[in-house]
Symmetry: C2
Subunit: 220 residues, 2 copies
């Protein structure tokens, strides 16, 4: 059979020699190490293989190409993001902005994230992998923060669920997009002052903006 790809989700076979989980972890570790040392453009499959102590062919049995491998290697780093309750929507936003900025400051993510996104514009499978491994996983932070703000009475409850989903998506794009653009495109630091100004702008827009003219509708 020729059923490679998709390392984690449900190994497609039950019989035969199972794929080594140690090798899996070693490969992802080696990929991150190679990203730190070499960056995206100079990372090669052969180098990752020898770092991980496996054969190059093993990499190709599990991942279709560099990009998919790197997505998996970097995705776990995004799961470190947390959203502790800081008491207000404004503080919650500021907190997650600074966390995200710290994540983007790491050399692995800095060099890899934009590269795989660029690649995904011509690769539907990769786009889907990025969405499931990174994008969708992080949207939960927006959902949690929004629900908290609603419970506090800072944000109104949304009647139309479709509109609510659109709002969540948009807020996610605004936060992640602004931080990424500041950090990688403008190449300026996302420091405390920037995070505070941005959070003020966003929260002001949210509380005075879409669907908010009927301001404090209060909890439930």
């Amino acid at each position: 059979m020729v059923t490679p790809m998709s390392p984690s989700p449900t190994p497609p076979s039950r019989t035969g020699r199972p794929r080594s989980v140690e090798a899996h972890a070693a490969i992802l570790d080696a990929t991150r190490a190679a990203l730190v040392e070499l960056g995206w453009s100079k990372l090669t499959m052969g180098d990752v293989a020898s770092r991980a102590g496996v054969a190059k062919t093993t990499l190709y049995r599990r991942w279709a190409n560099r990009s998919e491998l790197v997505v998996d290697a970097v995705a776990v780093l995004f799961d470190e993001l947390r959203l502790p309750d800081r008491g207000s929507l404004m503080a919650d936003v500021e907190g997650v902005v600074l966390q995200f900025a710290a994540l983007l400051d790491r050399p692995e993510t800095k060099t890899a994230l934009m590269a795989v996104v660029a690649e995904s514009t011509r690769d539907e499978a990769l786009r889907e992998r990025i969405r499931s491994a990174i994008v969708d996983r992080q949207k939960r932070l927006v959902l949690v923060g929004r629900e908290r703000a609603q419970a506090r009475g800072e944000l109104p409850y949304e009647d139309d669920p479709a509109q609510a989903a659109r709002n969540v998506d948009m807020i996610f794009d605004v936060i992640a997009g602004a931080v990424v653009h500041r950090a990688l495109v403008s190449a300026e630091p996302v420091d405390t002052r920037w995070a505070r100004n941005f959070s003020l702008l966003l929260v002001s827009g949210l509380t005075a903006g879409p669907g908010a003219p009927r301001a404090s509708s209060g909890p439930a």
Copy 2:
């Protein structure tokens, strides 16, 4: 001498055979065509050279590598962005968002922009080229829109020039970042509804947000 690079700004020599401007244009055209057909990752210098009808060595005499060439080839597309006066800050923002989205929808920019940004995280010269060729050139739109809004009385005049510059930079990152993230990372369409909702969010935040509690300070 070995003074290649930087094709446009001040040819470093006065004597000798001048660089062909036709070749320059042909190369940039060929680069964009190759981006459309092949995308960033499969674009090769040899292919661009043969499309442009020049020798591969000519490319390397003018650009240090693929990335710098692609930045120059794509940068001119960003100069198409305009900011016609639509009568209100909200409408101006919405207009530029839709223009920027249309630009990012073109295959050349879609595949190239994130790729060169990714590359620039490990290449100081490239970062500077992106900044001067794309980023700084587009910030003017924010400046113009802001001045117009101030003249209309929609936004207050800023006392502190440093703070004003920070605000302009932040608004730029928010707009460009949100659109890029929506279009390329989330891979969802930037349609009229999204543009309207986003503009509403941003303008609400700007008029109710940073330095705006002292609301309508009026012109002059």
